[in-house]
Symmetry: C2
Subunit: 692 residues, 2 copies
């Protein structure tokens, strides 16, 4: 027995009002009462539970699979059983015969509610066995993709109603799926007739429902049932381009890869690339071409990994820093190289992929996240979306360290952002023995505070340098330099072991105690390893470079804390590759970041890329970050009067004026010690430091 | 003294409510009261009077010119005087000095209302002297172009508010001009920064406010004030392509030209072009390329005529028959060549001009009018828009005669449409002495009913053939054949003079009376001119071909009249070149069209092109025809049971069963006469013909 349509509406769904069966969907926990005979898919739709469906209830796509949880769910007052759902009908049996339906799974479009049920909606229903599976991110992203596949059966042409084939296709897409005012990608117009006839009037349309122009668009059209669509989420970094290939229908990542940004050959860092554009008439064009080619290559790579044809990529989301953003889009970045650092465009943008030479399906749209400011780009917006300081009450600091550090600080109430010119020291570029992270590079260091002897580990070798067999193991890769994360560690360890003072001066008097303190002109260096040309040392200049970089970062953070009116932050997130490798404790010893409960300091990897992934799988996140970026208050550190003083205070380790009570709980910070190095002024104001 | 803003609103504008000055705008006749000091432009805007303005009230574009009409307008109770408008201010004086302001003209953005006024808004304010002026169509099209030029002054970048340059441009376009949710054509994004700086932050944006995607688009951007924008209205005919170049700001036509459709080399008529596509793998592509190239050439021609740069063309409207429509857009027309004649798309379409290889400004949109049915195309929709049967109470018949005749019949209540396969006879193609309209072709004919002697005129000679000096005058061009319009006339004259019967049989018995009736196998011909190889005759087969063609047309018309339930039509409009040259009287004698008061039968020229022009200058007309096309009922003549009988009845001259009382008032129709020609059945049913 069926009730009329209105029995599925809000009032009837209120529990207790009717005696209709009660259905609970997991994991969403949404529940409601529905008349006996209601298809499970319809019940899910009415409750707003996301269940994919391409075929529109014809039991052919297999996307709408669910499982009945059997048992007595006392808490929910539901006794759920497979007896409370209709038996497999002929359509479901046919699907099982042809495509295979796993034990216990039901097609929710065909299975009807007969009694109380607890229904599990599996997170990723895989229907195409050939898909290579990868571990997805630990994050479950609620799905609401911009592109939806919709199978329809179009009315055949009729001389009495001479509506065009496309017009009848639009009409049935409105009737069956509710799409109003549909537009179509122009390249499809000449193909409509042959596709309709090839599919014998049954076709699958890909509908883009998140076009910047507001109206839904038919962006793809295939004969018969098309049951898979993929998307790309990509972070274009200055050094590395990282990309995920994802099923838009299951949310599963089927390929992830990276490649170095070929623009490096035009300039290592961002500013040298801007200079290249200014000095070379075709410079912008050459760099745009290079990055687009690299992207096309990388798309090929992730498609190969996932066993996916690039024509099946139907949506793309990109993040990038402002200069990469501009160069990717073919915009001259010169204005970003000089005050007032004017972005050509800051808002979110959409393109057809082919308009920017990206070789995927002709109907694929590209979505670019908005930029926050001239130095705080779409990548920072992506990281903000990923970590969501604005979604919580905690005061969260989000830092992405690179040549330029992007800093976001805020909570539900208010978010502020800035960038700080940390320079390339953290990447090892201005460090005498610095090198990129590669086999042979020192990545971990400890210094014995008594003997001042170091021990270290190098990339590619599992042993510490003081362990037996290290030299043999290291022979093949060598010990070649210090990578970015280890530079943080060595300077922090030098401070903790008393080799350098609070002001960062290498204590030459220790040369009496240790051969590792060696004179170097008017200053001293710390010898990490070897001698002669193979010597790896940390010089006074190296320490100064790190101090300058960390002071710039810290001063920027402090400025934001002052804007927020807070003395401490509740949580810290390190985004980016640098953040993944440094030890938060040493970062705090160095005073790179403010004091914080160490358990609340976390590296979050490529948060910008995760943000892109979120925007790819759920268009709601696009609106979320677009609106958030408008609300974020941007602070230009260079224009703030007290930046200079904050910077000077932050030159000290960890800081001349700020207390680090949380840090002091777990690390014995050395007593204050003032050394005046040769040629250095070492002095300055003195303030008492509070420790806890 | 100024009143607050609300005094300009509806209630205050109601006459008599306030003692504010009364202002009447001509020719619209709109009127309202406005506080002293209100700029005339503002008053016009509030009343919905169209006054162009590009500079946004800065007195620099000169587009908003008006004239004060002086005098006592008793009917309106207004004494209007130049004393009732503010004197020229410094901005207006500067404009006059720099650009020149004609005597009596005022800039309505600067001139303020001081007392009662009658204001004349000139129909075409020409501010660019270099524009070549052409006679505009007699029709005044109210202007509401899809593209509007808007000058703005953009805020300079500010590090404290790091909105992108484009985003600030959008912000000021919203603030000054009210454009919300603006999008921008992708090719402009990389140009925004340099254009803003070149214009020293003063730029003119072209806003397309009629995008199919609903949101307004920035489609062009220029430094400083850009004070001219043009549009193209074009009818792509099978034989001829006709094009107008129009100022979107003044509405003036500045160039008109035509060219032959180069697809002719693939096939003379539509069906032979469809065949070419079916037979040749690259046929569709070749024809698409040919027509697009011809259009680009024609654009060059009208631009040269108008002294306009093609980059300044910012909007385009096209009409075409279904097959030309499809080939132009790159759609295979094969389906249109066979039942059920399925259009790939019937609704209105928009493209970027560059997407369909049209070489104008990169930001130019192309609007295609909708098609009515598989044989009643966007050209018929254009003609319908132009003649507007649906705008009046009269039952109007609109006919466009070609190889295929499109027939529209209706009034305010209901409109029906059909096409009829008239074949190429009316174009002279199946006529033994037929030829295209060209020098030497006979274009007018009279036959003396007593002597059966003809007199005629040929194209290129001003004299009738019986006038003195004709032979000398005709010597240079010769007398080479009969053009389409003259074929109607000669067959009608042969009927009126008794040479052919009501059934179209040439009366061989007249050979005794006149040497012009000559045997031709088993039938007879009428000798128009000459002898031997130079002989121009009208054969029995020629008459039959015309009868078949006109019967097809008339039967189609009758079918629509039956659908409408009317016995007669109130007005007839002949669209197209053919309609411009035939004499309506002879068309009626022949029974090509139903009986009608001859003063209500008019040739309207290229009505399809006029419709395109209307849609170009006023986007409201786009909505009008889109909605109308959905309402028009399409009749497929081939599917109507009684078409065959109507066709047979229409073979007779003028018709076997239908009366022609209006025609009988001015033409003495011959008595009925039945002749059985050799090899012909001549008989058939007999009915009494009523005459008046």
């Amino acid at each position: 027995m069926r009730y009329d349509d209105t029995s599925g509406n809000e009032s009837a769904m209120a529990e207790g009002v009717s005696k209709d069966p009660l259905v609970l969907f997991m994991p969403s926990g949404k529940r409601g009462r529905f008349p006996i005979g209601t298809p499970v898919l319809e019940a899910a739709r009415k409750l707003g539970v996301y269940v994919e469906s391409v075929c529109g209830g014809r039991a052919t796509c297999g996307r709408c699979q669910v499982e009945v949880q059997e048992g007595n769910f006392a808490k929910h007052k539901i006794v759920s059983s497979n007896d409370h759902i209709s038996a497999r009908g002929p359509k479901e049996e046919r699907y099982d015969r042809v495509r295979g339906l796993p034990e216990g799974r039901r097609l929710s479009c065909s299975a009807e509610i007969l009694g109380d049920l607890v229904i599990d909606v599996p997170q990723d229903t895989v229907v195409n066995a050939q898909v290579v599976r990868k571990a997805a991110t630990d994050r479950v992203i609620e799905r609401n993709a911009a592109v939806q596949l919709c199978y329809v059966e179009v009315e055949e042409p009729d001389m009495h109603k001479p509506l065009g084939d496309l017009d009848r296709l639009k009409a049935v897409l409105e009737k069956d799926w509710g799409w109003k005012d549909l537009l179509i990608a122009p390249h499809l117009i000449p193909q409509v007739q042959s596709i309709l006839r090839k599919g014998n009037w049954g076709v699958t349309a890909a509908i883009h429902r998140d076009m910047d122009s507001s109206r839904p668009f038919i962006v793809g059209l295939w004969p018969d049932l098309k049951n898979e669509a993929y998307g790309i989420a990509c972070d274009i970094g200055s050094t590395t381009i990282a990309m995920h290939l994802v099923s838009l229908l299951s949310g599963r990542i089927v390929g992830s890869s990276g490649t170095s940004n070929p623009q490096i050959r035009f300039g290592e860092d961002l500013m040298s690339r801007v200079s290249y554009v200014m000095m070379n008439p075709d410079g912008r064009e050459a760099m745009t071409k290079a990055v687009r080619e690299a992207l096309n290559g990388l798309i090929g790579k992730v498609c190969e990994e996932g066993g996916v044809h690039r024509e099946d990529i139907l949506d793309m989301v990109f993040v990038a820093n402002p200069i990469m953003h501009h160069l990717f889009l073919g915009i001259d970045p010169t204005e970003l190289g000089q005050a007032p650092f004017a972005l050509a465009v800051s808002g979110a943008l959409q393109y057809w992929a082919h308009e920017i030479d990206i070789d995927v399906n002709r109907g694929t749209r590209v979505y670019m996240l908005p930029c926050i400011a001239g130095h705080v780009g779409a990548d920072a917006a992506g990281a903000t979306l990923s970590e969501g300081p604005y979604r919580q009450d905690k005061m969260m600091l989000l830092v992405d360290v690179g040549t330029n550090a992007e800093i976001i600080l805020g909570n539900r109430e208010r978010v502020v952002a800035a960038s700080s010119p940390t320079g390339p020291a953290f990447e090892g570029a201005e460090i005498s023995s610095g090198q990129r992270a590669a086999p042979g590079a020192i990545e971990r260091i400890r210094i014995d505070p008594v003997t001042l002897e170091p021990k270290f580990r190098v990339i590619g070798v599992d042993l510490w340098s003081d362990e037996e067999g290290f030299e043999e193991a290291a022979a093949s890769v060598g010990v070649t330099g210090i990578c970015g994360s280890a530079i943080i560690e060595v300077v922090a360890e030098m401070y903790l072991s008393g080799i350098i003072s609070e002001d960062g001066v290498v204590d030459g008097s220790l040369a009496e105690r240790s051969h590792r303190i060696i004179p170097n002109g008017r200053t001293f260096s710390y010898l990490l390893r070897g001698d002669g040309e193979q010597r790896i040392t940390v010089t006074q200049n190296d320490v100064r470079a790190i101090q300058l970089a960390k002071a710039a970062l810290y001063a920027g953070i402090k400025l934001l804390m002052e804007k927020q009116g807070v003395e401490k932050v509740d949580a810290i997130r390190f985004a980016g590759a640098f953040g993944s490798f440094i030890d938060p404790k040493y970062a705090m010893v160095l005073g790179l970041i403010p004091d914080c409960d160490l358990s609340e300091v976390k590296a979050v990897g490529n948060a910008a890329g995760t943000g892109a992934l979120m925007a790819l799988l759920n268009r709601g996140h696009r609106r979320e970050i677009e609106q958030m970026v408008k609300k974020i208050e941007k602070i230009e550190t260079a224009l703030e009067g007290n930046f200079q003083q904050l910077f000077i205070d932050a030159m000290a380790l960890p800081n001349k004026v700020d207390p680090f009570p949380e840090l002091a709980k777990i690390v014995a910070l050395p007593e204050r010690k003032v050394i005046t190095a040769g040629g250095e002024d070492g002095g300055g104001r003195r303030r008492r430091r509070e420790r806890g």
